[in-house]
Amino acid sequence: MYPLYTTGAITTNENYLYAIFIGIMFGFILERAGFGRAKHIAPVFYFKDLRVSRVMVSAILTGAFWITLASYNGWIDFNQVFIPATYVWPYLVGGAIFGLGMVMSGWCPGTAVVGLAKGKIDAAVFLFGVLAGMYVYFDLFDSYESIANFANSGYIGKFTIDKLIGGDIYTSFIVTVLMGIGLAIFMHTMKSIRDKKEGEN
């Protein structure tokens, strides 16, 4: 029965050993996707190059498909899979700050690790910023109760799509596919508007 670790089939140390190989897989794919350069990431915010959104939508739908299939066939105990709990307000504000940071730097934490491996100095500087930012956040979190309170506001627990609109894992899968298609259509529409404008200039 899967997941191997959370169902007790492998030990913590074995899980750590697998983590290296799983990470290598991720790093290899991210680099091949072109995510080891800020130049390939930032253009998505200008609807110039949709590589980022295409890879993300494709990965989400593929991952969701495998999980739904594995759950249907009884291979995986979906309850044993880690799903981050939802905190509505901090996710909204955190998401917005994240988006600003991403268009500003051209990186996110995972892609910057790949950029660092490729020798990108902007990735290294970005990661120093991340470390400094963590320290500042820890300090503020400890000093001001209001920050901790905000970070824990809007808590609705593990909140999957079927909890929001009813139904089961299959409903969630269908809605995820629709969200993915909607996002893809939005990005392509914006890109063709942009391309047309560029053509006129």
């Binding site: 191997l4 799983i22 790093g27 130049k39 996710y91 600003l100 730097s105 970005f126 910023g129 930012g133």
Partner: protein
């Protein structure tokens, strides 16, 4: 600034990334992560210099077992580095450099990279993850929060993009 080698088609890269994500869920019960490793690294390094840091409300749970770095996500991020290196080396893409629009000053570019990192660190603590641990893993496991995070991040990115047009020469 152009790379000599072709990258994978985005839809194929996405398919492989989603499949890798699934393998990770099947083995560890969790998917890709990145920001958590940097939070833990900061906690551990600060703690080595200042042991009183263990009482900090945010990092105390990290240090409870003695070493904040004894953690699945931290080890997996080391793997991401190795995997990124292997792929880039195989394709002849390891090259020192700074990505920026032509003629954009380097000191400005590095200032934005640093400030962006600073902001993103705080953002990941509020959002309990980043593009990997929150957006990808969460959306693939049907979490509503992942979509809240993703839409907020892209929305803010689109709104703020005009401010950084010169940096990327868009």
């Amino acid at each position: 600034m152009k790379d000599n080698h072709n990258y994978w088609n985005p839809l194929i890269a996405g398919f492989l990334l989603g499949t890798a994500l699934f393998i990770s869920f099947m083995i560890a019960g969790q998917g890709m992560g990145a920001s958590g490793a940097f939070a833990r690294l900061t906690a551990q390094v600060t703690y080595l210099y200042d042991a009183t840091f263990a009482t900090n409300a945010y990092v105390a749970p990290y240090l409870r077992d003695g070493n904040a770095l004894a953690n699945w996500t931290v080890i997996q991020v080391v793997g991401i580095f190795i995997g990124g290196f292997i792929s880039a080396a195989m394709a002849g893409r390891i090259k020192q450099g700074i990505d920026r629009g032509d003629g954009y000053p380097i000191y400005k570019r590095l200032f934005w990279a640093f400030l962006g990192g600073l902001l993103i660190a705080a953002a990941t603590r509020l959002a309990r993850g980043c593009t990997s641990g929150q957006a990808l893993d969460g959306a693939a496991t049907f979490s509503v929060g992942a979509w809240i995070f993703m839409l907020a991040a892209f929305g803010a990115g689109f709104l703020m993009a005009p401010l950084f047009k010169k940096q990327w020469k868009m």
